[in-house]
Amino acid sequence: MPRDTSIRSVLIIGSGPIVIGQACEFDYAGSQAARSLREEGIEVTLINSNPATIMTDPVMADNVYLLPLETESIEEILKKHDIDAVLPTMGGQTALNLCIKCDEMGLWEEYGVKLIGVDIAAIDITENREEFRLLMERIGVPMARQATAKSFLEGKEVAQDFGYPLCIRSSYTLGGAGAAFVHTPEEFEVSLTRGLHLSPIHEVMIDKALLGWKEFELELLRDKNDNVVIICSIENFDPMGIHTGDSITVAPAMTLSDSTYQRMRDMAIKMMRAIGDFAGGCNVQFAVSPDDAEDIYAIEINPRVSRSSALASKATGYPIAKIASKLAIGYNLDELDNQITKTTSAYFEPTLDYVIVKIPRWNFDKFQGADRELGLQMKSVGEVMGIGRSFQEALQKACQSLEVGRNGLGADGKELRDQAAILHSLRRPSWNRLFHIYDAIKLGIPFRTIHEITKIDLWFLKQIEELILLEGEISKFDVSNISRDLLFEAKQKGYADRQIAHLLKCLESEVYNRRDELKINRVYKLVDTCAAEFEAMTPYYYSTFDEENESIKSDKKKIVVLGSGPNRIGQGIEFDYCCVHGVLAAKECGYETIMINCNPETVSTDFDTADKLYFEPVFWEHIFDIIRHEDPVGVIVQLGGQTALKLAEKLERYGIKILGTSYRALDLAEDRGSFSSLLESNNIPFPKFGVVESAEQALELSDDLGFPLLVRPSYVLGGQKMKIVINREDLETHVVNILHDLPGNKILLDHFLDGAIEAEADAICDGKDVYILGIMQHIEPAGIHSGDSFGVLPPYNLGDLIMAQIEEQVKTIAVALETVGLINIQFAIKDDVVYVIEANPRASRTVPFIAKAYREPYVNYATKLMLGEAKVKDFNFKPHKEGYAIKIPVFSYEKFPNVNKELGPEMKSTGEAIRFIKDLKDPYFRKIYSERNLYLSK
């Protein structure tokens, strides 16, 4: 069937602020959907309250609404536009839930809006676990024993019937909120109470736990003609018991025979057909018994684009959201082209000749007191994906992408050797279990023990063992006498030069030179959906060590944009927004653009974004090799957050041009001493401060500065380990603490301006002229991290004198730092004096917010400045200034029930929303403003 021509205008619902369990994968999905529909000449209207998204950019849709995801907003849109259909499958559970609410209110019917991509019955049945179980029973798909309970008593009865261990989840929630794994009646009672409370319909589902079963996921697409394809099979390295969002996952499935895989495929198709008759995508999860029977049990099915489908799209090259959107408007799969080859059919199942490994990224350090054990509830804040020609290579590359201070898996002298601690970690998995499995094997803990505790498939464990054996081999040599074959094997297995250097006891550069001498060079292979069977037209590459290089260097002038790596608190989707705009701006200026990033959830790693995508760790060795291969005119480091910025020093050292603000200036801004001298010489006030390297020095300095003091390590992200201390004792403890975790760090002590008002400004500068993009005033007083504060654009009660000071200071600092590109400056205002707290000559979290609020392409402008293609005076600024825009921080505390929710200088929010108000009489503003007093009274 060709496309349904009655659909001329579609509403796409976004997923709102980033929370744990729902991150920027939905920006990727929504952006693809919008693009896919607009290609068909359909008018696209978008609603999302998250301003840091690409999908809400004016270039993405015809009408963009940055409104709260509430039925009122939907009705407002429906009144204004003649919407033919709504596509709710691109915005996660949030969008589906909103869609159901609107349906219940009769909104869709009232406005003649057709639901596409899914149907209400399908959403209902997949979320109503009891109904779902009955349906599965009817179609002969086995599931673990399950029952629902709507009261405490009912729950207790089920537990008695099933016996422990049990798994308990609340109905209609995100990312497994309220889900727990219980072994004892005591644990059960606590979880039952919480689960009932968290569920909007006060219902929990109790399952017999399939402990230690292998876990798999399939991604499906179906068209109106009921043709179904499986896009990807994903195997969880961590067996049942750990939420799939918190599991290390591998594609394609590594330990599944064809017979079992095909049974699973049949079941998945049967399930999708059973839940409803709609054209779109589904994600199905299965458990497989690790015995001869290989029983397959269904766990759940999600009738929408998911985190896993974003991963599957990046893993295979098959753009699921893009195709799902086409299917939603009536196309059949066999009427569409494979987007990668452009010559073969979209109706096919991608095949991989490489392996991908996804590792989640956690941020437990931000949640003091959080239960760090992984389980049924998702706790990670982001993820990385490594691509390699083998599982081992992909695993090492994923570990190198994590930015957790490791150079990969093992061979960095950081292993744990305490047997009891290792065994504890294997039993109670947390973020570092993978590393501890390595440690366990290395220490000689028997395989049987490791397998019995973790239930991880022996094949995976053996792969890690092989790595350890290889390391043993390598250690017998030094850099001058290691053979080419052995070095080649290490590189093929994903070892970084740094890891090999550790084993050979030499410098990273020596390993690099040695392999250069032996001609062991990276080659680049294509992700092409078809294992090279057909020629591919898309420039999506990964590196490996093999014979043939497929990435042909063009002779165009080109630039590299460094991405921001995995999402984490303090560095999230905002930077992906900036990277994407940087790429688009450079393209506009005629450059060939090269994107390097390793975060599968992002738009920047969509093969449609840059001219060339290298899906690689944002890790020095990989970047340097790409730069050597491509020979770009320069590298943009300002857009990819701290991840990209911290590579500036090495780029400078290797003589690679940094586009925009120079490394010297970047370093100067980061170095408190030099920066303060700069402020001093420009007569700009700043809080009294000092730099210390020991607790002794700190105590001495505190006499001089006076309490309260703001204590923070240098070169960190999102206020990590930043704390306000009020006495000598606290100061001593905290400094010792920092030095324990970050040995050799230079710690900054600032006199804390108690009760001050905070503000921040973003500006662009061409080295001479400065344009202030916007100034935001925080609602909370100083002491709360800017990322966690409500912010108002423009300031709501700063006087002219203050504003003038801020503007003057921004201009002075930007020019003094010879900024070319973006700069963000934070201020504290007390007694009519404006103090500068810090300056970051890079894109900040607030840039996308200001760009959205003022409807101006600021990152585009900034990139043109960095490239030297334009000057500030070339731009015709026309900010749309109407009322105020409030930045609302959003937290994911429900995932961490025991965490101290009190805000402080360390950032804890996972996302943000935007809310526009006409004036300060707005009730929402008045409400949050009144809460400010809470902080002042503390």
Partner: protein
């Protein structure tokens, strides 16, 4: 010492291209046409599939051997491929029902292979240059000698291979609820085809490739199955003649892969060698009669010529390959006779096309109930 230099093996293509890797399986040298299979699962089924007889198969997926060898997941009694080429060869397996490792399986059947090859470069090379012959060896280290050997390998074109893999004598496999008798002409049958028929209540009698039509018909079958198999169908004129007689008997007939090609030839169609064959478990097919699509398992290097189908009085196209529009299925315009180029029995591969066996059995039953004209 690294594993690389302990067991060097070479792959040498007919055009002189050399790849160096690591030897797996037994020590030896082997030759054949080189073909790539893009399936990510099913190495066991593929290696024991008689259609691969005489071929060196490149597995494009990164790892093989991971789940060992299951005693029942085989398509014939032994490994049929001439040799294997792969990226990562797993010496360890992790399936509880596995009875041996892939390495042990290769050694048991006296087969060898080369691992740690840049299979992607190799596939790209073959994709550009077309199907060709090759030699693999982990005993001969003289590359020039291997090059000379590669040139000597006879071309697959015009090669009859069915006789090497067909049963030598007739045998019976009872169905679950015998009510239907199916005669299967074995030109290299995969066990799954027999299983699919048995599961649907068919009693299957398997006849050797050189059985005369009269002999088959004298058993009074209710249906006739032409199996898959290796080699060039145009090199099998004697079998084609028998197939023609079988078609003329008006008994329902179903052909798979080589069987499909033999049926085509018997009805005046022609076959041709493909530049690159279809081998994998993700091939898109559209059923032109129903408009529905199916993901299929495929393994063929020859194809029925679309040109020859034009104006043919007897046969019409029923299925088309969506990637290159080649002929994937045909049926007789007036007789209960049909065939497909792909593998509805799957193994390895998806079960989307198993309906064709149902269709065959339904056709048989329908035909049985009709008075003989």
């Amino acid at each position: 010492m690294s594993e690389m230099d302990s067991n060097i093996a070479y792959l040498v293509l007919e055009d002189g291209t050399v790849f160096q890797g690591v030897g797996v399986g037994k020590t030896g040298t082997t030759s054949g046409e080189i073909a790539f299979n893009t399936g990510m699962t099913g190495y066991q089924e593929i290696f024991s599939d008689p259609s691969y007889f005489g071929q060196i198969v490149i597995m494009t997926t990164s790892h093989i051997g991971n789940y060992g060898i299951h005693p029942e997941e085989i398509e014939s009694d032994s490994i049929k491929v001439a040799g294997i080429v792969c990226k990562k060869f797993s010496k360890v397996d992790s399936r509880t029902s596995s009875e041996m490792t892939l390495q042990e399986y290769l050694v048991r059947d006296g087969k060898m292979g080369v691992s740690d090859i840049d299979t992607r470069a190799l596939v790209r090379h073959i994709r550009e240059k077309g199907a060709m012959n090759a030699v693999i060896s982990n005993e001969i280290k003289d590359v020039e000698k291997l090059k000379a050997m590669a040139k000597e390998v006879p071309s697959m074109q015009g090669m009859e291979l069915a006789s090497f893999v067909s049963t030598k004598s007739v045998f019976d496999t009872p169905g679950t609820q015998p009510s239907v008798k199916v005669a299967l002409l074995d030109v290299g049958v995969k066990l799954s085809i027999i299983r699919c028929l048995n599961e649907r209540g068919c009693d299957v009698r398997v006849f050797p490739h050189d059985t005369k039509a009269d002999e088959i018909l004298s058993w009074n079958p209710d249906g006739i199955m032409l199996s898959n198999g290796p080699g060039d169908p145009s090199a099998m004129p004697l079998v084609v003649e028998q197939v023609k007689a079988l078609v003329d008997s008006n008994i329902p007939l179903f052909g798979i892969c080589l069987g499909h090609q033999l049926l085509a030839l018997s009805q005046g169609l022609s076959t041709e060698k493909m530049f690159n064959g279809h081998r994998g478990i993700n091939h898109p097919i559209k059923n032109l009669l129903t408009g529905k699509c199916e993901i299929t398992s495929q393994n063929h290097g020859f194809v029925v010529s679309q040109e020859s189908l034009k104006g043919n009085a007897n046969m019409e196209m029923t299925h088309v390959h969506l990637n290159d529009q080649t002929v994937a299925g045909i049926q007789h315009k007036s007789k209960p006779v049909f065939s497909v180029q792909y593998h509805p029995e799957a193994s390895a591969g998806p079960h989307d096309s198993r309906y064709l066996f149902d269709q065959f059995v339904a056709l048989i039953k329908e035909h049985k109930n009709q008075p003989v004209a």
